[in-house]
């Protein structure tokens, strides 16, 4: 549990983060979105004290972070940034080992952990571990940056536009991987992005920031259907809103008995995926299969469209 109370940062008398209060549940993903300069990075960096707040407190599991030594606090919190910041004079293995080494883990444990992480992030340890950062592609560098943040098994991860430099395909893949890793490890993640789709895809809750204030802190569906202010509404994007909303809704509740033509869709997909498939294949309904591939009914265009109209 992270409790943030009245957190404020001023530079030369001008507040860039103003009086932010929020409670973040352990094991959840909180995504901070906002336009450039709205104070997202500053807010994030106050959590691991890379920036010292002008006012306010951050409590992690009931302990005020000011009562810890800054470097000890940071070793407990994974930190990944857009330009990955890999150490150019160290191999990938040594980079990933940064925090475990600082914590004095035994060699064998570090080596095993490095292997494990590279495999987790789908990088071949034998090939990638001995390389230097400049011998990797941008996507690989970014994944190594994430591996380094995860290395010492932190309960909490701060990520500042970790996928910012990736092309859309690799980016989507990296998001899926992060979600899978997070679900497996149960980590608490605070992630900054200015991509609303990324926020909706990854966030259990989204905090929308504007001019240093948190305009709304709510689950993605609420952000879409009940934007708290004009700023939030504009970030959501009026024309994209229905599709984003559909992307949050699972197929399962709309499955009705019956059959339909053509290739089936899995219950794990979103209504947005189902709609896309209907449009592209010109079908009124899709057969639905469960995780094992067993037929469980169909979903119709009519049901889908009315489900996509948010409650008012």
């Amino acid at each position: 549990m992270i409790r943030i109370e009245g957190l404020t940062k001023e530079y030369a008398g001008k507040a860039v983060v103003r009086d932010v209060t929020m409670a973040i549940e352990s094991g959840t993903v909180t995504v901070i979105v906002g336009t450039s300069g709205s104070g997202k990075s500053t807010f994030l960096r106050m959590v691991n004290r890379l920036v010292e707040p002008t006012a306010g407190t951050v409590e992690i599991d009931g302990v005020d972070t000011r009562r810890m030594k800054a470097h000890e606090l940071r070793r407990r919190i994974g930190y990944a940034i857009q330009d990955h910041g890999l150490f150019p004079h160290w191999t990938v293995a040594r980079n990933i080992a940064t925090v475990p080494r600082l914590l004095g883990w035994p060699r064998a444990r570090i080596a095993a952990r490095v292997r494990e992480l590279l495999e987790l992030l789908q990088l071949d340890p034998d090939e990638i571990a001995p390389r230097y950062p400049h011998q990797l592609s941008g996507g690989q560098q970014q994944r190594v940056g994430v591996a380094r943040a995860l290395a010492a098994r932190p309960d909490m991860l701060l990520m500042d536009e970790p996928f910012g430099a990736l092309d859309p395909v690799i980016r989507a893949k990296a998001q899926d991987d992060l979600k899978a890793i997070q679900e497996r490890l149960g980590s608490t993640i605070l992630l900054v992005t200015h991509d609303m789709s990324e926020a909706i895809k990854l966030g259990d809750r989204i905090a929308v920031m504007s001019e240093g204030r948190v305009e709304q802190f709510a689950p993605p569906a609420d952000i879409l259907t009940r934007p708290a202010s004009a700023v939030v509404e504009s970030l959501v994007g009026e024309e994209d809103r229905p599709f984003r909303y559909l992307s949050l809704l699972p197929i399962a509740p709309l499955v009705e008995p019956g059959t339909a033509e053509g290739p089936p869709i899995g219950t794990g997909h979103s209504l947005r995926d189902a709609l896309a498939e209907m449009i592209w294949s010109g079908r009124q309904a899709l057969p639905v299969v469960d995780d094992e591939g067993a037929a469980c009914g169909r979903v119709t265009r009519g049901a889908l469209l009315s489900a996509g109209r948010p409650p008012r």
């Binding site: 890379l50 940071r74 930190y79 150019p88 925090v99 600082l102 950062p133 011998q135």
Partner: protein, 244 residues
Amino acid sequence: MSAVVAAALRFALVALVLAFLLVPDAFAPLLAPFAPPGGAAIYDRASLLALTVSHLLIVVAAIVPAVAISVGLAILVSRPIGAEFLPLSRAIVNIGQTFPPVAVLALAVPVVGFGAWPTLIALFLYGLLPVFENALAGLTGVPPAVAEAARGSGMTGPQRLLQVELPLALPVILEGVRISLVIALSTATIGSTVAAKGLGEVIIAGLNSNNLAFVLQGGLLTGALAVILYDGLGQVARLTARRG
């Protein structure tokens, strides 16, 4: 291919200098045309080997503390607590550089007497600036994302310095040392005017007795040493250069 040529040239130059120092008389026929009638072709008032060693010792004895102090100063002023000393440090090392070495010798002799000391002082002052400026550029030139990652992963100040900043700055620092060393090698020749043992002695003897052969061997030896050291340190710098 060019690497092979460079290695061959490097080896040839070192071999030539060693041969000249160990058996200078073998080169007498080559230098004789430059000696005045009846004059010696090879400097004979002291062993060229001993003069070279002494020359190098003075240079090293001046440059080692100059490097230590410049790097130390650069480390200090690149920390937040030392930042306010930056202008002062810059001023001090710049004065060391702008003061003509001859003037340093002239001022030092009355204080420390003749011999190696005045030369040491002049070379030391001359060695400060290139190393200081390069070390400062290297230490403050760490890419922002790398500096941020070092802090964010929980390294303490000294850990950041030793594990990240200094290793990344090392090639740049070595470049400064290279420059200081070459300047010191050539400047050390004027030390012979105040009785420091070195290759300058050969050149001065040549000038005094109109013996071009002496001037040539003193000058060429100094030049060859400078080339060898500059090149050698360049090789070291390349090895330490960050792979990025």
